[in-house]
């Protein structure tokens, strides 16, 4: 969040990657991509490439971490060593530990934890390529992976950031905007419940700018939400077809 270099937004309000202020990066969502997992999803959000696998409900290890009255959700956000400019050590960094916590806390409100006492569900997030906004993309994909695993959910959780770049509030910052911009506000949201489950901020915003950024981020979430649903539907159509094929074969 320091000095400016090249202009990130031109006079017509167009950003370096060709987007308008309130425009999302291209998104690609896929569900059921890891055969060994109970639920899984893959997201490409701009150049971010993130894979999420879900296991459970299953026994909790070590046992004393299990809870008699509810399921324990565990979450690991992890970056591949080759996902960033300088090779990242595979050992979890403090940043990854914090993000694992806030991602978990952004997903918990969507789950009926009390339905599965003494069990655990693991959400493993692997960032294969990072380009700004990985925590939001991780949440969007993790919600899909949880849904894919068959866990009942209050709503999907969908996440997107807004921020401030060269005096404008813009949607969905990529890496360079994140580094050179003035503020970044990642938001996770359950559209049907109008509930914000993750909110963080780096940088400096006036209260008015902040309100504008939160609203813009939620609008971004609302645009991604139907893509999530579409991805789930595609998976289930596919499953249905495969089942049909099998029936035919038989």
């Amino acid at each position: 969040m320091s000095e400016k270099h090249e202009k990130l937004i031109n006079k017509k309000g167009i950003r370096l990657d060709g987007r308008k202020a309130d425009e999302l990066r291209p998104l690609k969502l896929e569900v059921g991509v890891i055969p060994s997992a109970d639920g899984s999803a893959y997201i490409e959000h701009g150049k971010n490439k993130i894979l999420v696998g879900v296991f459970g409900p299953r026994e909790v290890h070590p046992k004393h971490l299990s809870r008699p009255d509810r399921m324990v959700l565990k979450c690991r956000y992890h970056m591949a060593p080759f996902s960033v400019q300088e090779r990242k050590s595979p050992a979890p960094s403090r940043r990854e530990i914090e993000l694992s916590k806030v991602i978990r806390e952004s997903l918990e409100p969507a789950l009926f934890l009390e339905l599965y006492p003494r069990t655990g569900v693991d959400v493993f997030v692997e960032v294969l390529q990072a380009d700004g906004g990985t925590r939001c993309a991780s949440i969007t994909a993790a919600a899909l992976a949880l849904a894919d695993s068959g866990l009942p959910m209050r709503d999907l959780v969908v996440a997107c950031a807004a921020g401030k770049v060269e005096d404008s509030i813009v949607l969905d910052l990529y890496d360079a905007e994140d580094k050179l911009g003035d503020a970044d506000v990642p938001v996770a949201y359950m559209p049907n419940l109008n509930a914000v489950t993750l909110l963080q901020m780096d940088g400096i915003l006036s209260p008015e700018e902040f309100e504008k950024a939160v609203n813009m981020a939620m609008d971004g979430c609302k645009q991604i939400y139907p893509l999530q649903k579409e991805a789930l539907k595609t998976k289930y159509l596919k499953v249905k077809e495969e089942t049909k094929d099998e029936e035919i074969e038989e």
């Binding site: 916590k101 806030v102 914000v196 940088g203």
Partner: protein
């Protein structure tokens, strides 16, 4: 941590708040009394102790020389570390920092860093080679709720109390000289945490309130009343309206506290 108080007590707390009151007599938006003492560890370059209710946080600052990061060759380095010292609560355990102490350190770090509280460019000794490194160590000595605000306050108190050694560079070697200069500070962020219990917002949650709290949101507010860092925490949610409300509460409380602190 929900097992630290009984179910009955949990219910009592929630009901009282539902009725617009708090068990310790505060209004929902009242902040507890706090004290800030500076210079409590003479041997550290800076230090401060905050007492907020019975929460007690000590912050010590050490200044050393080291290398800058390659992408900011002219800037000094600040690192924040937090320890939930095991004597501060029966639920804390010795060992490497867990997610709670890491989150605490990173929230405090963010408030200071994003508000540009330290003028890090003035900590450069030789561009790209040698800069001052400021270690901010947060030591939680008693846990009675709202450690985030207490730690953020103690960290700022300690930084404002920090003296850097004078030095000159002779043949590329740093030589310490007589005397000290205060750490160059540009901004005074104050962090205010709001909790949500049964859909009601409360300011500065206490220990027992934290046991029944659904969610919290912490906001660092700078001298101009702008927001410079936010962290939502816990497994609950806020409505967008509640977030705006929390932001207003944070502004108000920061003004009150700033007055008291004379920052």
């Amino acid at each position: 941590m929900s097992s630290l108080i009984t179910k009955v007590r949990q219910k009592q707390i929630a009901q009282t708040i539902d009725a617009g009151n708090r068990l310790d007599g505060r209004a929902l938006t009242d902040y507890r009394e706090f004290t800030l003492e500076q210079g409590v560890i003479e041997k550290a370059e800076g230090s401060a102790r905050v007492r907020l209710g019975k929460s007690e946080v000590l912050v010590g600052v050490k200044v050393a020389t080291g290398e800058p990061f390659s992408d900011t060759p002219n800037a000094g380095v600040m690192t924040v570390n937090a320890e939930l010292v095991p004597l501060a609560s029966p639920s804390y355990e010795p060992g490497p920092p867990d997610e709670n102490s890491i989150e605490l350190a990173r929230i405090v770090d963010r408030g200071i860093r994003e508000s540009k509280a330290i003028d890090t460019e003035k900590l450069c000794i030789e561009s790209g080679k040698k800069v001052f490194v400021v270690f901010v160590d947060i030591y939680v000595l008693n846990y009675d709720g709202n450690l985030i605000d207490a730690a953020a306050l103690a960290a700022m108190g300690a930084l404002l109390n920090t003296k850097m050694p004078n030095y000159e560079v002779v043949d590329g070697e740093v030589k310490l000289k007589q005397g000290y200069t205060p750490l160059p500070m540009k901004s005074h962020p104050i962090t205010v945490t709001t909790g949500k219990i049964n859909d009601k917002l409360i300011v500065d949650p206490g220990f027992e309130e934290e046991q029944v709290m659904d969610a919290r949101i912490s906001m660092a507010i700078n001298d101009e009343g702008n927001i410079c860092a936010i962290q939502k925490g816990l497994a609950g949610y806020f409505t967008p309206q509640q977030i705006i409300e929390a932001s207003k509460l944070a502004q108000e409380k920061a003004v009150e506290m700033r007055k008291k602190l004379k920052w």
